[in-house]
Every structure is written in structure tokens, then in C-alpha cells.
């Protein structure tokens, strides 16, 4: 099996029997970059949560989530906890609420270090400082001693990235990592994400409603609608004109409002950056 992370026929049902995800399947190779796009409520964030078994109460997941052939859905809690953060890490949409307001940034970064790598004291602090520099949080000492509310949105998301990468995971799930940020910061964080994936070799699953963001960072694409996968293809193919009508509609709508290039991510990175800066949310227009 070549795929690192493989989602097979993932179905999530609420306690009232409604299907939030319906037979979702996709795969991610080691070092791959997968974008999961769709409108609000299409189930893209739920997919990411279901992969780590973090569904809200009352929801049930069936199907298989294979990490190196091991089914995460069937793992006992203790072993799943070792996978979370250690093998598969996650970055959330809203970095302010995803950080504990009462804990300094330094302590939050050393948390996973202690948990998965057994680092303590000075060693943990040194590693936290290294991670902070890795995500370009200069002025490291001050930031590690700060509380989340003392940092800007971009700084907070960098902290969240540092926490996620603390234990050198093999897969990074990023759930709308730039949506809550303002546009100039979005571009910076995306660049950083791009750079980190290159540098650490972590496989990326980027969940977003923002097609230009995907075009900029991802190579493969999963388009979701109403809890189903509409299309699983490469970003370049989708931009050239996807198979599914919905994909074409999505790309067309994004292009109409943002000037999304037609030649794939490499051809127009600058154009996409400008587009992302001008118009961050094509979602409303795609409906």
C-alpha cells in the first residue's frame, strides 16, 4: 500500500440518523499535499475531525481511516492518543480559541513535547524556542512568555503551527488555517505553511473553502458537497476544467471573482497571491 493516509467509505451519522458524511474516500501519499474544498456544511471540516476521532458527542463514524494500513477508527483510546499529535497533528481555524487563554505560549508548545517526546525542563524550552524560530516567530523569548491574547492573529496561528509540528508528525491536518486571519497575514501564513511542508516533509491535508488557497499550496484536490466527494483529482486538472460539473462551477465562480489562473498553481503563484489578497472568500459566490 503506497498511501500514507487513506480514508475509505467514511460515513458520519448524527444521533438523529442524519448523514453528515456519506461514503467519503480519498488517499494521501507520504509528503503529499491534498486540498479539501467545498462550501460551508459540505462536511470538509467534519472529515478532518473524523480522521482523528474528534467528532462531537452523539456522532458516529463508520468506514475506515488507514494510517499506514492501521485503522484509526478501530484503535483503542490510548493508542489513538499516541497517534494524535505524534503521527497526525491538527491546526484549527480560530487560533485564539484553540489556545488556552490562561497558559503562556511557551507552556502550550512544550505540552506536546512532554507528552510525545518526553522532553522536560530546559530541553523542552530549547526545543520550543527552536520550533518558534521554525515558524518565524522572531523575538522568541518574549513570545514564549506571552499569553495568547497578547499576540496578533498571525502570531497565534504560527504558535498553533509550532504546536502541531512539535512532534514531527507525518500528517498535518489544517482546518481553514487562514480563514480567521486578515488578508495580508493570510498570505504570510500560507507561505509559511508551504515552506514548512517542504522543509519537514509532512503530508498536508488542507481543508478550506478558498480555492485560491488550495491552488497555492496543494497538489491534489478533493471537492466535497453535501457530505459526498464530488471529485478527487489534481489541482492542475481541476483548474484546467474538472470532470464534475460542480467542480467546474466552483472554479469558474472563483475565477470570476478572484482572477484565479487557468494554468495550475506553478504558473500563476503571484497572481493567486494577489487574488487571495484581494478576495479571500469566493465561497458565497459559488452557491
Amino acid at each position: 500500500m503506497s498511501a500514507l493516509l487513506e480514508v475509505q467509505d467514511l460515513t458520519v451519522t448524527t444521533s438523529t440518523g442524519r448523514r453528515i458524511l456519506d461514503g467519503v474516500s480519498w488517499s494521501l501519499d507520504a509528503g503529499g499535499r491534498l486540498g479539501v474544498v467545498g462550501e460551508s456544511g459540505s462536511g470538509k471540516s467534519m472529515t478532518a475531525l473524523a480522521v482523528l476521532g474528534l467528532l462531537p458527542d452523539g456522532m458516529r463514524a463508520t468506514g475506515r481511516v488507514l494510517l499506514d494500513g492501521e485503522d484509526l477508527l478501530a484503535l483503542p483510546p490510548r493508542r489513538l492518543a499516541r497517534v494524535r499529535g505524534g503521527q497526525v497533528a491538527m491546526v484549527f481555524q480560530e487560533p485564539l480559541t484553540a489556545l488556552d487563554p490562561l497558559m503562556t505560549v511557551g507552556r502550550q508548545i512544550t505540552g506536546p513535547l512532554r507528552l510525545h517526546r518526553g522532553l522536560r525542563g530546559a530541553a523542552a524550552r530549547e526545543e520550543a524556542a527552536r520550533l518558534a524560530r521554525l515558524v518565524h516567530l522572531d523575538d522568541t523569548e518574549r513570545i514564549l512568555g506571552s499569553y495568547p491574547w497578547q499576540l496578533s492573529g498571525g502570531q497565534r496561528q504560527r504558535v498553533a503551527l509550532a504546536m502541531a509540528l512539535a512532534c514531527e508528525p507525518r500528517v498535518l491536518l489544517a482546518d481553514e488555517p487562514t480563514t480567521a486571519l486578515d488578508v495580508t497575514v493570510q498570505a504570510e501564513v500560507l507561505d509559511l505553511l508551504d515552506h514548512l511542508v517542504d522543509r519537514t516533509g509532512v503530508a498536508l491535508v488542507l481543508v478550506t473553502h478558498d480555492l485560491p488557497v488550495v491552488a497555492r499550496v496543494a497538489r491534489d484536490l478533493v471537492v466535497m458537497r453535501d457530505g459526498r466527494v464530488v471529485e478527487h483529482t489534481s489541482v492542475a486538472a481541476a483548474l484546467a476544467g474538472g470532470e464534475a460539473a460542480y467542480t467546474r462551477e466552483l472554479v469558474g465562480a472563483a475565477r470570476a471573482v478572484t482572477g484565479l489562473p487557468g494554468g495550475g498553481p506553478a504558473a500563476g503563484a503571484a497572481g493567486v497571491a494577489a487574488a487571495a489578497a484581494r478576495r479571500p472568500a469566493p465561497e458565497e459566490e459559488t452557491r
Partner: protein, 306 residues
């Protein structure tokens, strides 16, 4: 230090950092979050409670007269050099009884706070962290207990165990536990729904790790305030119980029993009623102010105002 931090982070301010109000007074130094001036209610409360505590502690080793010493002078005398608080109708020294009463009041307050804290937090965390029937069952029990008057519960317990300090402690502690359990449950459930808890789970933190790292630090200030207010209530409840004769039996002194005994002689020797009354006011006010002060100091919503 807060001042320095906020001025060196121009980015953080103005974006969405409501707590870092510009011009926050610097305070006396210390950690970033602790460097603020102490709220006056905290200081006054601590002084009043401290006063009662010191008097109570002293009474353990020394009182001017023994509690059952009736042959020390005139009965129902007003304050004098020999008896600073006067004497009661049996000629016992009032000051000695007040001092012992302070000790008993604080012991009951502290012990019932402990009972309420341990029971209440245990039940509250369990209810807040579980769903459906465990939560519903525990909550119904708690509601039932809250609806049940403390005095009635105390009478029940006294009927079973006999009148004593520990009966009073259990009665007050158990009814307090219901309130604490409710506050704990709400706050635990609130914190467990926070994104940073999901993020902690996503990072592989186990259930106990989340409770210790995130839930406890986020919940304990609220609980401490509730416990302090409960302590004030406990002093009052102990006075009521011993007024009714359900507290510590004589010759052990209690402010409530002093009040009850002074009732019939109030016109002859008003000090017998005034002094225990004042003592109760000081202790209750002190504990309430202390609770208020802790809330002011820890509540992030109030932090920005100063």
C-alpha cells in the same frame, strides 16, 4: 511588567486583545498576569477573616477565663477591666466565650467548605464531563438538595447523629456541596466545549491531562469565590443552628448560642447580644469581601476595568 509587555506588543493591542487595556496600572511587579494592585475588598476581607482566625487560634491555647468558670465576679456585668466583654447570667466571662466562638465558627466554616469543595467538585466534574443519564441523575439529586432547606437537613442530621459541631459541619457542607456541584458542572462543561480542549485532544492529550492542564486552571477561580461565599453562609448557618440548640452543646461556646442566651437579658446587659452579633457580622463580611476580592482579581472581564 504588564505595562511593559503591552507597550512592546503594538500588534497585539488594538487587534482583539480586550484584556490588555492601555494604561493598566503597573503594580508592584511580579509575573505578567499577577502585577496589579490588590482590590480593596480583598485586603479588607483578608484582614477581617485574619482577625477572626487569630482570635480563634489564640482561644485554643489561652482565654482570659475558663468557659465554665462561673465564680469570677458579678453576673450580667457590663464591660470592665476584669471582664472586657462583661459577664453572662451565670457570671461567665463573655470575651472568653466570644473567642472560643470565633474558633468554632471558623472551624465549621473551613470544614464545611472542605466537605462542600470535595463532594461538590467531584460530583460537578463527573456531571460536567459525562452526558445523558449520569449527568441528568446527578443534576436531579443536586437540584433536590438545593431545594431542601439547610436547617431542615441539619435537623435531620442532628436527629440521627446528635447535636455537635460535626453534625453542623456535615449539614452545612452537604447543602453547600450541591451549590458547588452546580457551579462546577456548568464551568467544566463550558471549558470542555472550548476549542482548545479539542485542540488538546488532537495533540494526543488524554482525559486526565485535559482536566489537569485546562479544566482545573480555568475553573478554580470561580470555585474559590463560590467557596468563600459559602464560608460566609456557613458562619451564619452555624450561628442559626446553635441558636436553635442544634450546634455544639455547652459549655463549648458558639456565637449563635450566646445570642440565644442573651435574648432574655438583653435589656439588662445589651453587650451580651451586641458582641456576638458584631462578631458574626465581622466574620461573614470578611468572608464575603474575600470572595468578592478574589473574583475581582481573577475574573478576566473585570481585569480590563482597572
Amino acid at each position: 511588567m504588564t505595562g511593559e509587555l503591552t507597550t512592546t506588543t503594538p500588534v497585539a493591542r488594538g487587534v482583539d486583545a480586550p484584556a490588555a487595556a492601555p494604561g493598566t496600572p503597573g503594580g508592584s511587579g511580579g509575573r505578567a498576569r499577577g502585577a496589579r494592585r490588590l482590590p480593596p475588598s480583598l485586603v479588607v476581607g483578608a484582614v477581617l477573616v485574619g482577625l477572626v482566625a487569630v482570635v480563634g487560634l489564640v482561644s485554643l491555647v489561652w482565654t482570659p477565663y475558663a468557659l465554665d468558670d462561673t465564680g469570677t465576679g458579678e453576673r450580667l456585668a457590663g464591660p470592665s477591666a476584669a471582664h472586657w466583654g462583661g459577664t453572662d447570667r451565670l457570671g461567665r466571662d463573655l470575651l472568653s466565650q466570644l473567642m472560643t466562638g470565633a474558633g468554632n465558627a471558623l472551624v465549621v466554616a473551613a470544614a464545611s467548605m472542605l466537605v462542600a469543595g470535595v463532594l461538590g467538585v467531584a460530583v460537578g466534574v463527573l456531571a460536567g464531563a459525562t452526558r445523558r443519564w449520569v449527568d441528568v441523575t446527578l443534576l436531579s439529586g443536586v437540584d433536590l438538595l438545593i431545594a431542601f432547606p439547610t436547617l431542615l437537613l441539619a435537623m435531620l442530621i442532628v436527629t440521627v447523629r446528635g447535636a455537635s459541631l460535626s453534625s453542623a459541619i456535615w449539614a452545612i457542607g452537604i447543602s453547600g456541596a450541591a451549590v458547588i456541584a452546580r457551579v462546577t458542572r456548568v464551568n467544566v462543561a463550558r471549558v470542555l466545549r472550548e476549542d482548545y480542549v479539542t485542540a488538546a485532544h488532537a495533540a494526543g492529550t488524554g482525559w486526565w491531562g485535559v482536566v489537569l492542564r485546562h479544566v482545573v486552571p480555568n475553573v478554580w477561580p470561580t470555585l474559590l469565590v463560590q467557596l468563600m461565599l459559602l464560608g460566609g453562609g456557613a458562619v451564619l448557618a452555624e450561628a442559626s443552628l446553635s441558636y436553635l440548640g442544634l450546634g455544639a452543646p455547652p459549655p463549648n461556646a458558639s456565637w449563635g448560642r450566646l445570642l440565644q442566651e442573651a435574648q432574655s437579658t438583653m435589656l439588662v446587659q445589651p453587650w451580651g447580644a451586641i458582641l456576638p452579633g458584631l462578631a458574626i457580622v465581622v466574620a461573614v463580611l470578611g468572608l464575603n469581601l474575600l470572595g468578592d476580592g478574589i473574583r475581582e482579581r481573577t475574573d478576566p472581564n473585570l481585569r480590563g476595568d482597572r
